[in-house]
Symmetry: C2
């Protein structure tokens, strides 16, 4: 079975792993990333982590997932709050030179999680997988026949900006009624503060109150599933996926909203489509597995 | 240059053409289809039309476009109001036997128009093309790297059912607030009857009144562009196409709504995406050219 190296590079830590093509994690090494020390330092850290992986030489290619905007063709980070000194740096080509000239591919961490779930997680074996992450923001990605759909500008999947209602205000640069402004973790927390108490600090508290039958909390969750089901319905009508995978931190509260969301989504697509599935993300390690699966997908492009 | 045969089979007429891979129509034959006489009769008619095309033997494959639901894998019509006697009939295999065992591929006429526009019309040379038809109903299709995206159930592109507003009622089997119920030709006519006069017979009359600054007609067109721009924005955020092509009978009134629609659509996507284009369909013969391009796409699948 082929092997790949997956690297999950964040502002605090970096993890490097040797991963089989079926997604099995064979070995993981971890270190502080210290990106404030500059790009060369980060390259040294990553190189050492990889060299310390037993049998790393067997890997066919290397994938790196980073939290930021990236130019996947050039292998360069174009914007990243926590990796500012790496912006514009030739990360993939430098790493490739340090690591036996193996091919190195760079992906946004959300896109990496999507292809990880599609190829090695909840979507394994499915032809068309749509991944939606519900976290601070909302994003998505389509994986079709094992390949990420990037779109003309790399914006395919920026579904957080999708207009799902006419009643909400516009927040930031997002559309009036955008799903991210109504159903993200940030939005649930904001609504909790507005409608329940200024003491609400995160979405989980609203979900806990909904479990305790707090009427305002239940109403917030109902709005959330209204908005999200419109998003999922629109995604289904555009690409008719076999499976939609929901990931992201807000899924910690899925007990409160998942069944209701699934019911509303199925009511908003055609009956013949309702054997498509809605499931939770499965990967314990979406960063490293996703990075490795991204490398696999690029190698079989 | 390769050649293909495109067949546009309708309830009244059938057209068969020899078409070059660049979309150039070399020769067209036409006949009454008389589908009420049964499937064997229709096969005879099509066979004779093809045999009468000079150099039809040079064609690599044959595509057929029909107005109905089809099973593209089995090459069988599964539902078609105007071709009822052909439902379930082994159309592609029978035609193939009659025509030198050439490969024969069957497509819905909307999907055929989409791939025709993508490969030989307004989308020629573009990587990701989305086609939207605004007619009695509203439908769409994505063509990615020269291939139609069909989806799990063949429902990819059934975007007429996309929820674009919360104010409209539910009509038929469509979602409450579905774009087809607010912005199709049928919807414009219905709104014209409700808000202007019971004498309104078709959408074109509403557009004419809007040109004459009739306030209610202008309001109907404003709602239409609100709804359609939400649809186009959602499509852009899901697949980030290079180009969106608008076709269908309602485009005869484009002078009244196209520029406003484009403006609203661009205001509802990210600034970095606004170099994507919104254009009118270009093909004079979407049926035959689309059928031929569908055959081409299946042969290069």
């Amino acid at each position: 079975m082929k092997k790949f190296i997956g690297i999950d590079l964040g502002g605090t830590n970096v993890r490097a792993a040797l991963i089989r093509e079926d997604g099995e994690v064979l070995c993981v090494n971890k270190s502080a990333s210290n990106p404030e020390k500059g790009a060369e330092h980060v390259v040294d850290v990553i190189t050492n982590l990889v060299l310390d992986l037993p049998d790393y030489q067997q890997a066919q290619a290397i994938g790196i997932a980073v939290p930021g905007l990236i130019d996947s063709e050039r292998g360069v980070i174009t914007a990243a709050n926590n990796l500012a000194k790496l912006v514009g740096y030739p990360l993939t080509s430098t790493l490739s030179k340090r690591l036996q000239n193996k091919p190195v591919y760079l992906a946004n961490d959300g896109k990496a999680a999507a292809i990880g779930e599609a190829l090695a997680g909840a979507g394994k074996g499915k032809k068309i997988v749509y991944y939606v992450t519900i976290s601070t923001g909302i994003g998505g990605a389509a994986v079709i026949d094992g390949q990420l759909l990037m779109g003309r500008h790399g914006f395919a999947g920026e579904v957080g900006n999708m207009i799902v209602n006419q009643k909400d205000k516009a927040y930031g640069i997002m559309n009036k009624g955008a799903v991210e402004s109504g159903a993200s973790g940030t939005a649930i927390t904001r609504k909790g503060k507005e409608k329940i108490s200024q003491d609400i600090q995160h979405a989980g508290e609203v979900f806990d109150l909904a479990k305790e039958k707090h009427a305002d909390a239940i109403a917030i969750v109902e709005e959330m599933t209204d908005d999200l089901s419109n998003l999922l319905s629109s995604v289904s009508l555009v690409i008719d996926p076999d499976l939609i995978v929901l990931g992201g931190g807000v899924m910690k509260g899925k007990d409160v909203f998942f069944d209701r969301l699934e019911e509303k989504w199925k009511s908003k697509i055609f009956d013949a489509m309702t054997d498509a599935e809605l499931v939770s993300a499965q990967l314990d390690e979406p960063g490293i597995v996703g990075a490795a699966m991204y490398a696999l997908s690029r190698e079989s492009d």
